[in-house]
Assembly symmetry: C2
Homo-oligomer: 727 residues x 2
């Protein structure tokens, strides 16, 4: 890639970003779009436009984002979101501090050297570019100027350590503050009990669990909720909900027809066959009313049967104090670890009920099987991606699809295509994976959604780093050196190879980063896609208020793919930070603009689907360190390639990174796994309503009033009177 | 070594053993020796001779040992001892079951082959011996007979898995029964708190600890005992005790002189100078009385000062219920892991007070430093041991020390010396190490004696296996192949080398095992050394009852060296079990006689110094598995040396061993680390006397009545009234 196509790529990206930003300013001001641009505020019952004026400065959102405090973010979007901003600002800090030293120090050192013409590491895929003059490629081998680059590696590393340490401390405090808040949160009073041993003759599961825990916690035990196999009851409940929605819709259609058409209106009809396309034509309102009346008794019977006969070997157990629940979640209860496993309870909304019944050793086996599958996926996706990046050069495309030749002949278009094509292929390709990884993570037997998201996100990170970063970097020179590696596949060789191919791909990755933030954050901010979908739905599909609300219902921030994406950028920017320091400003822009745009989105658009009180942080921290480690190892290899005799001076850094990681996880990590008792024992605002806490864990398909008064809840009630007298 | 010297060695060992056994039968019948042969029974207030008759069958002790139950062992010597017998009987079971298949299967297969003359793996250090006909050395390379040996490896492995699984379960139950016993044990009501953060102005440490724990455990917190720096007070207290003993002794001497000498008696005198050898001569009784009167006020002042001013950052915290203490010991208390570290409390008698103040990260650093030191020791002791085993052949000795030549010339003596010399050097050499390892383990910052013993024992095991087993085996052929290894030091090479040199050392290790059990257990049973020392002390040194009691005070079983010794034997026997199956009967004898002799000693002689409720077991189990793994890996190499093409069929075994180890530790281990709440919540016989529990943790140097009524105990008393009203 030469300088002109590089600049074209940047310019185009920037132009698109500016257009999208103005589009956002214009569209978000229209009242009809408020539900697309301010859904979170509307759901929280707040005024979409804080100031009240709709004719605003198009950059007002920037000011609002900048002036918002962390407490506001926590209040409106939860601790997890606040932790994500700590992550963004920490990385931003690392890059800004790095650039303050690296840019003034390394650029002059590179540009004033006479150029390294002895090796061919400087040529960007064959074409010598002006950009390379600003990179380490311009420095001669064995040159004492390499000392500056080595110092650069140290500077970046220490900046990373210091900021990560501060961030870990800060996030730990955020978590502590959230956990010691005086508000009642059901999950702080509950623990999740799995692997309950089979009941022998006599007592049922509820009695078994009750007597077990009451013996251990005579004072603080409240009651238990046995997990049940809800497959059938969920299906019936969904059917019922579906009928209710359709009835509502039919009534709305009927009401509309009264005002627009004949005064008596036309009663809507539908066909009873497959997908409403065939079968007998019936009156919708009557038909669905009848269906609802049919389903309700079925559901109620199934609810009773589920509660009585489909009890599983897991339960949610409730305590009357937070400290008791926190201590119970950390303690071994049974002599055998694979019986009565007690862990902290997830939030009610994020419990993965179907996973609860999976037994202890099955969970272990599933975990390892999933790891092996993921490892195979990570390694062997390399082959298709190498093919894709080999195919998606413009010259190849022309050869393969000759009829695009006339399009390509136009010089301006060609430059744009040349700049974007390989990256676009990559981005589209990566979009296919996260769902698979999330499903795999769920298959491990993880009991909560947030944990599954974290797990999937971790897998996705290793995938992207291995395939995008290493794949593209080595892939560029892969075919030529593949045989060489095959001959002697040692780690040393791979590092050397990586170091050799890094400089050639610097401009590639600069455009990759630029594309990601300009286009990605432009689309994010303008919400063009959700806007169009919403308007289409409103016009052609939605008939009732409920349907309209569902059409603009915001999603959550989607950490599962967002965080690995950010981490990939960090990896790329860190690894090139010393080789081609010009990449750092782009990294700063990525995280700076990202912080701004997402602050806006977090405050106004997205609704978090769960709250894990910052448990995502240790994952992010470890992966930032993994990126740093990769960077340090690569730089060691790179200095070796440059025949710099002081290259071994880099060796202490990877060791230091490992020690830093160890110390951090020793000091901070356990609090992210377990709730500290000094935090959990803080006083509550008022005495918790235990019955409400208990009910919040009932799945909606089981929580009709009729059932609650019945069956397994009868003996539970005797507990209530007992324990309330205690409290 | 040829057959005759081998048989001589065995015969001599056996003869010595028989002599020692009869000596034991004779000596133990004499009433004056009761305190040497039955000290544990006497200390427990039991009749030394159960039946009452002193003229017993010399083999009565065998019957008594065999008929004793596990419950008796637990009652008289504790759970740790019972667990040690589970260990012995498990290993015995493994060896017996192995021999049942291996001996009838492998011996005929070996002996009927025509002999492997193509390789020189069969020669025992140059001399072809008849014994080798019974080993795998007699089987030709590539022979299909090797299938039998391969099956043998599988048989031994599966027998080990099954018996270890059963034993783990059994030990877990033993531990559970001990922990749920209705008797009050102070350590079950206490936790050890370390890394208490520095107190700011205002509250003292006691208030700090009290308020911290009372907030978290409003109902179950009793009170706390702050650890103090007892160096000075301990020294004073020891001085005082010394003076008291000397006074008692002087008075006893005076009383004796009255009856034997002049009617007025001679008042004993002593010199006040260095070691009582110089200085002014004074009247002992007056002198020591005066000294005691001087020291008491000093001690009391120091006790007060210690309690008030020398408080450390650690404490023992007491709870009113076992379950509360067990849960607290497993829970994270502070947001930062390195503050308020709470673990289970060791027994009062085994707390290592000086270690308590060591801080969290310092403990981590110390641990790694100790590991590095031990690793260096393990690896580089190899050099001296190689020299020793090279020197201690008889021929070498004669060359070095010419004047022993006439002794050696006698043929019978020569054979004996040839058989014993190398082994004796080894045994003496190994006796020097355990104390160093124990000191190193204590330096890690471990808070309890039993933990330090376990840690030292683990280190000693790796040392002995690496140095004795691998060192001697490879050492024999080391000098010839050293250069070859140096050229290409791969793991593969080392395994091949080990496999190559194994058969040559078979008879060496058979005699080593025989020597260990015949002489070792003979001396153990007859207690010749303690007997002689006791009688000497009684005759020449002891003047008072206290001194006499101290002279026969029994030691504990000394797991620190005993267990690694047994484990070394297991390693040796397992590794040779298939190569030279004749070693198995010797292994059976070792553990069979060991079980008998030690059962006798545990019931009658040794007094355990601590009780860890079977925590030693996971260490032993892992190390038996390590021995099995070494065996499997070695056999893989050995089949390779025999050019057996189906050698890869051994590969599943090491993998299986690792999986087995993982599953065991997952399922059982945590209960050995933490007390399960279902166990701890069992009911007590009666309401525990909390004040007594608290006092049992006071170091003796601080527990004079005067102090208890004072100072830090004042506010503690207010607690008592508060909590007893609650209970």
């Amino acid at each position: 890639m030469d300088l002109s196509s590089f600049l074209t790529s940047l310019g185009t990206s920037f132009a698109i970003f500016v257009i999208l930003m103005f589009l956002f300013a214009w569209l978000s001001g229209k009242p009809g779009n408020a539900v697309v641009y301010y859904p979170n505020r509307i759901l929280k019952g707040l005024d979409p436009w804080e100031g009240g004026s709709k004719t605003r400065n198009p950059f007002a959102w920037i000011k609002e984002a900048l002036t918002s405090t962390e407490q506001e973010v926590i209040a409106i979007s939860g601790v997890d979101t606040a932790v994500y901003f700590v992550f963004l600002s920490t990385v931003l800090g690392i890059l800004v501090l790095s650039s303050l030293i690296l840019l003034p120090m390394l650029l002059p050192v590179s540009v004033t050297d006479t150029g390294d013409t002895t090796t061919n590491t400087t040529t960007s895929h064959g074409t010598f570019s002006d950009l390379d003059k600003l990179s380490i490629g311009n420095v001669q081998a064995k040159s004492p100027r390499l000392w500056a680059f080595l110092l650069g590696v140290y500077w970046v590393s220490f900046v990373t350590y210091i900021l990560l340490w501060k961030a870990y401390k800060h996030v730990s405090d955020l978590r502590a503050n959230a956990l010691m808040s005086p508000d009642v949160k059901p999950e702080q009073f509950a623990v999740l009990v799995r692997d309950i041993p089979a009941v022998s003759e006599g007592p049922n599961r509820k009695d078994q669990v009750d007597s077990y825990f009451r013996a251990i916690y005579p004072e603080t035990y409240y009651k238990s909720l046995i997990a049940t196999d809800n497959k059938v009851v969920n299906k019936l409940w969904k059917e019922l909900e579906g009928f209710r929605k359709k009835l509502e819709r039919a009534e709305a259609v009927y009401a509309t027809s009264k005002t627009t058409g004949s005064p008596g209106g036309t009663r809507p009809t539908n066909k009873t066959g497959f997908l409403g396309l065939c079968g007998a034509k019936v009156d919708s309102i009557e038909y669905y009313t009848e269906k609802i009346n049919e389903t309700i008794p079925k559901l109620e019977a199934e609810q009773k049967a589920t509660l009585r006969e489909k009890q599983l070997n897991a339960a949610i157990v409730f305590f009357t104090s937070r400290a008791a629940a926190a201590a119970a979640a950390q303690s071994l209860h049974s002599q055998m670890v694979d019986k009565w496993t007690v862990t902290d309870a997830p939030e009610p909304r994020q419990v993965l009920w179907p996973n609860l019944k999976i037994k202890f050793f099955q969970r272990q086996v599933r975990q390892y099987v999933v790891y092996i599958i993921v490892a195979l996926t990570v390694v062997f996706y390399m082959i298709p991606i190498t093919f894709i990046s080999a195919f998606t050069t413009l010259d190849n495309l022309v050869k393969l699809i000759p009829f695009i030749k006339p399009v390509v002949r136009q010089s301006a278009l060609k430059t744009v295509l040349e700049a974007f094509l390989p990256q676009l292929a990559l981005i589209i390709f990566l979009a296919l994976l996260p769902k698979l990884l999330f499903a795999l993570s769920k298959a491990e037997g993880i009991p909560s959604q947030s944990h599954a998201v974290r797990s999937a996100s971790g897998k996705y990170f290793y995938f992207t780093v291995f395939n995008v970063f290493l794949g593209v970097t080595i892939g560029g020179t892969l075919f030529s050196t593949f045989k060489e590696i095959q001959k002697n596949p040692s780690l040393e060789k791979i590092i050397t190879l990586l170091a050799n191919s890094l400089p050639g791909n610097a401009t590639y990755f600069v455009t990759f980063v630029a594309l990601k933030f300009f286009i990605g954050y432009g689309l994010e901010l303008s919400r063009l896609v959700p806007l169009i979908i919403f308007h289409l739905k409103r016009k052609y599909l939605c008939k009732t208020e409920g349907e309209l609300k569902a059409a603009w219902q915001p999603s959550d921030l989607g950490y599962g793919t967002r965080v690995p994406g950010d981490l990939l950028i960090i990896t790329i920017v860190l690894c090139y930070s010393v080789i081609a320091p010009l990449i750092i400003p782009f990294g700063v822009l990525y995280f700076g603009i990202g912080w701004l745009v997402l602050r806006n989105q977090a405050l106004k658009v997205y609704c978090p689907a769960y709250e894990s009180y910052g448990r995502f942080w240790p994952h992010m921290q470890v992966r930032i360190l993994a990126a740093l480690l990769l960077y340090q190892v690569t730089m060691f290899g790179f200095f070796g390639v440059k025949k710099f005799v002081y290259a071994p001076f880099v060796i202490p850094l990877p060791i230091l990174s490992l020690i830093f990681c160890y110390v951090c996880s020793k000091k901070f990590y356990r609090f992210f796994k377990d709730a500290a008792l000094e935090v959990a024992s803080h006083e509550l605002k008022d005495i918790p309503n235990m019955e409400q806490i208990y009910k919040s864990y009932l799945p909606p398909s089981l929580s009709s009033e009729k059932v609650l008064d019945d069956d397994q809840f009868e003996d539970a009630k005797s507990n209530v009177s007992r324990t309330t007298s205690f409290a």
